[in-house]
Symmetry: C2
Amino acid sequence: MTEPSARPTRAQQRRQTEERILTAAREKFADLGYDRTTIRAVATSAGVDAGLVMHYFGSKDELFSRAAEVPRSELPTHGFPAEAGAAGTGEVSEALLASLASRLDSEPLASLAVLRSMLTNTDAADRYRTAAEPELNQITAGIPTADAELRASLLSAIVHGVIIERYLLRLGRLSDATPDEIIQLLRPCFQSLAAEAPSGGSSATESKSPSGT
Amino acid sequence: MTEPSARPTRAQQRRQTEERILTAAREKFADLGYDRTTIRAVATSAGVDAGLVMHYFGSKDELFSRAAEVPRSELPTHGFPAEAGAAGTGEVSEALLASLASRLDSEPLASLAVLRSMLTNTDAADRYRTAAEPELNQITAGIPTADAELRASLLSAIVHGVIIERYLLRLGRLSDATPDEIIQLLRPCFQSLAAEAPSGGSSATESKSPSGT
DNA sequence: GTCTATAACCCGATAGAC
DNA sequence: GTCTATCGGGTTATAGAC
């Protein structure tokens, strides 16, 4: 048996190089978007040749497609926690806020790459739509009113608007605020959109145990 | 005196051609973004030659710059009504909602061109920032709390998130909902972010003093 | 397997004919 | 004033040398 640490397999070597290329690609795509990112720049950034990138991934589209997949290592509580799916009413906003908090703490580069290219590249737009759809359905399912779909769409729009301005545009105070500051301000906002009663003040028998992290 | 209607002046002719080019440019930029829009396509769409476009505008940047200016004819109550500026507390959310309603009814093509290119073109991003800044300051001025800046940033992010998903991404029910539906759902949301008391009022005269940081 | 050279294409911008 | 022809540069993608 060959010792893997001493002499890495050919396949392992390749796997490692691929990963280095993908990381460089994610950075470029997230920073410049699809169109302005060149294979050459990605290759240089990864310390390899442009031809090699083509040899590995076949095309720029394929490279983007692979780079846009969020690696397992960067999946914390990303998107929308599955546990809250069937929880029913009353916890949609908290689940969404928790999801947003984690994304405000650190949004995966792959997601930023998709968001950056979303408006000018149809592949990225499709990927965004596909990724957002199940989340949207889950939110909708947790809202009891007849206009649940529209409410869910608004919640989704808010989440993405905040993330875009924080990470991609660096606008205003949104880029340096702590996740908690933002979450606290958005809580009543989300509760009203999720058709829930406000938590803080009124009367209401608070069963309201915030799900333990 | 030459009759203008019978024989249009040379300058008028040019003006007219320029406007046709600008309209075509706005459509293309709003639809495809800066990078994917070509001078050639704009020229073809306007029924003129590509060289003429260059002759008139000098460069693609300049063409975009001119196309991104919202023409006077399309300025309804755009942005943030000036009258509400010094109105002080209590009307920020309503003013913002009114502004949003008008934009949800019909957002100018020039604005869509900027929004579409915002994430992948620095000129467009700067233009967006410059346009958003005074509006942001005005909102901030109308919010009494210490974290007014952050609240204003969130309000701005929400507005743009909704507009982007409605017009540019056509996501979910957001694209076919009426402006009024959206406004009604967002009202309590905006009121809480503007640190105002809810208007409709379930119960609760909630003065809900927001903890000044 | 890795890298070099180059093909084929499209762009913005320029110069000049009509 | 309007349009044609073209230049120079950059891109993806391919073919082939090492």
